[in-house]
Assembly symmetry: C2
Amino acid sequence: MPDIERVLTEIEDNQDRAIGKLLKLISIPSVSNEPSGREGILRTAEWLVRELGAIGLSARVVPTEGHPVVLARSPGGSGASRPRLLFYGHYDVQPVGDPASWTHPPFAPKLIPQDGMTRFYGRGASDSKSQLWTFIEALRAWNAVEGEFPGEIVVMLEGEEESGSPSLAAFVAAHKDELACDAAFICDAEMWTAGQPAITTQLKGLLHERVTISAPNPDLHSGHFGAVAANPIRILSGILAGLHDEQGRVAIDGFYDDVKALPAHVRALWRDLVRETDPADAIDLSGGMTEAGYSPIEAMWGRPTVDINGITGGNQGPNERSVLPGTATARISFRLVAGQSPDKVRNTFRKHVGARVPPGCTVEFTGTGGSTAVTLSQDSPFLKATARGLTAEWGTPTVLKGTGGAIPAVQQIDELLGVACILVGFILPGDAIHAPDENYDTERLRRGARSWVRIFAELGRLQ
Amino acid sequence: MPDIERVLTEIEDNQDRAIGKLLKLISIPSVSNEPSGREGILRTAEWLVRELGAIGLSARVVPTEGHPVVLARSPGGSGASRPRLLFYGHYDVQPVGDPASWTHPPFAPKLIPQDGMTRFYGRGASDSKSQLWTFIEALRAWNAVEGEFPGEIVVMLEGEEESGSPSLAAFVAAHKDELACDAAFICDAEMWTAGQPAITTQLKGLLHERVTISAPNPDLHSGHFGAVAANPIRILSGILAGLHDEQGRVAIDGFYDDVKALPAHVRALWRDLVRETDPADAIDLSGGMTEAGYSPIEAMWGRPTVDINGITGGNQGPNERSVLPGTATARISFRLVAGQSPDKVRNTFRKHVGARVPPGCTVEFTGTGGSTAVTLSQDSPFLKATARGLTAEWGTPTVLKGTGGAIPAVQQIDELLGVACILVGFILPGDAIHAPDENYDTERLRRGARSWVRIFAELGRLQ
């Protein structure tokens, strides 16, 4: 029997070292979504290979069509009785956006005492470098104390999650044998609250559409022609303003056609959750438009949505200009639920927009991404063991939750490997992921690593 | 009596030289509206001083709070019987915008045979370097042939017209005595058609408003919070889409309160013009929203408008991002007609927008500019002499037209000097002013200079 308490003590005794390593990892910029990020991506992958090697795994950088995957395995000597466990994380990060909107530098994290905790700020601090570091630290501690890993371990760290995982499906298909496992842990998910752990069992699908409206003329002088010629910003604004009705429903004909209604027991579960606490506490919802008839939780996790992620048109300079622009562009994304097909939603949207572009003007669409929603089994023994491990560490029941986020890896591992996927993570709404001043705290790093030790112990008991 | 034919021949004989000088002027970037433009502005001003000196005027660069004015005078020896004539032009240009949208480089003009004409492309090619060069070349030729200028001449070349002329009023007030004249020619205006000259007697007022909507939260992950939290782009789009009703009227309460109706004789004049030809021929109006009940000409010249000149919010990067932005900004401008006060329109607009920002969200306004509409007398003998001169050169009646543009210089010279302002110019809609591939042709440069010679001759006959 493994000595869990000694493994937990190993984690406690090596906190500073773990934090130091993680801050180093955050300090290497690894933006997957901008061409200039490539060099940092490669440095990060190589750094991770060295660190995974140092804890006793056999690690390598595996090239893909896009950014490489870091792949690591525990040493041979498989006993048929040991669980085969796959750990997925992603080492790439979102772009910084406007650097001026960061209070703390995005790639120079340091420890800052704040609100009775020790925080660190940086792009990737929460999403997802701390997440992957929790299971790496737990694997290190387990091996250090027990002299072996808690099963046959495969670690797969992706470099394109924030770009929609364009190369992952091909990678998983090509490495199916190496990735074969009894359970796959996707560590890129949220806790329920700061004190209560969660497993995410329901994810939305996602697709992006870029829409450019062009007037029949190029840029014109707005004083001369604004009164009579087409303004693509006005046309685009009308289309965007009409994407929702006054009830917060998506006002695109046919958008809800294939949507499966939320099962009554899920709604009941989620309504109960809402009564106890609200994960959106850190977020001010005023001015928002939650779909009528649904709670915020139901809307976030269980209802399809359309979001406007960006808009650009006309004068972008420091001073005012009397220009009537020739084009205007919006970036739109759809979050899909069970039953909806990305291709069908895309076509429905394009038809909707096309019908609203006046004669003489034109519209161009650029679609990217396109994943369906995923509902994971809540009955797998691996998921139940994981929930027991989390509950043991945090002292409160583990919540089975949904998310508005999409993680293509889940869909692809679920489909291609045909194995139980379990989404565990320690992200909180206040972490400002995808936003300026993204941050995390040392306490969640410590307890995240401890959580994995408890989970390993529960998984060992399954045999 | 001056020998007009010899002066015209002098212009014909020196065309290549005049074109060469003008191309050199266009090649010096003089963007007033961007901090990086300062150096080019100063080089342009100094170049103009040298050229004005070379034709016999006494010229200097006069500093202002912003960019300098180039001021030049004919040599002393004023005869009381000679007309005192002020020529206004502006040597600054609009920003280039996206350089990739130019087919021709914006600051390297060369002669290109095209459609039976010789064209040259560049920022400022039409607005307004060719315009000011027409009267400089005419003054040069007149002095070369006659040994004197066609009156007491003052040339005032502004460097901030494309920035809304922020320093001009103070300059005119401070140099009132030097600028005293019988008639002021503002050479920054359009012809009626390629074959028919025009004098502009009615200009709109102008004000700019920048509007930023902020959500209660900074940037968020749109997958997590798009379904429930405020999206400033959506809110802003709704406001922009609601600026016009379905009749193309401005849907801001009180916007039309002080608008003076177009006089019946002006409407009749303009309707006749529309029947003969259409200055918007080069512009495709499909997709535009001309105010119901008005012809395009009436809407452009005689009805107040609101234009959206720019919009920015959320993701501006090369790839898609699931961001729910914290802010979104639009740049708006209003074109005012007689009776409307810029301050009142500004306040009306801000109140309108403020009432449409949902609780919890905020709005910030940055206002710039603010000029009233100007209606110039059509009865001045100087204007009538100018019309005769133009008609003599072009062989067709001179049209008295309006414009949707605003030229602060006109308002300020009109008010501060109390003198007849006459707007003459040779710009055409196809010149793409304020747009990529701005251009002009050598024929209009030649006939523009000839037009001024004819005008000088008519003005001389007034004495």
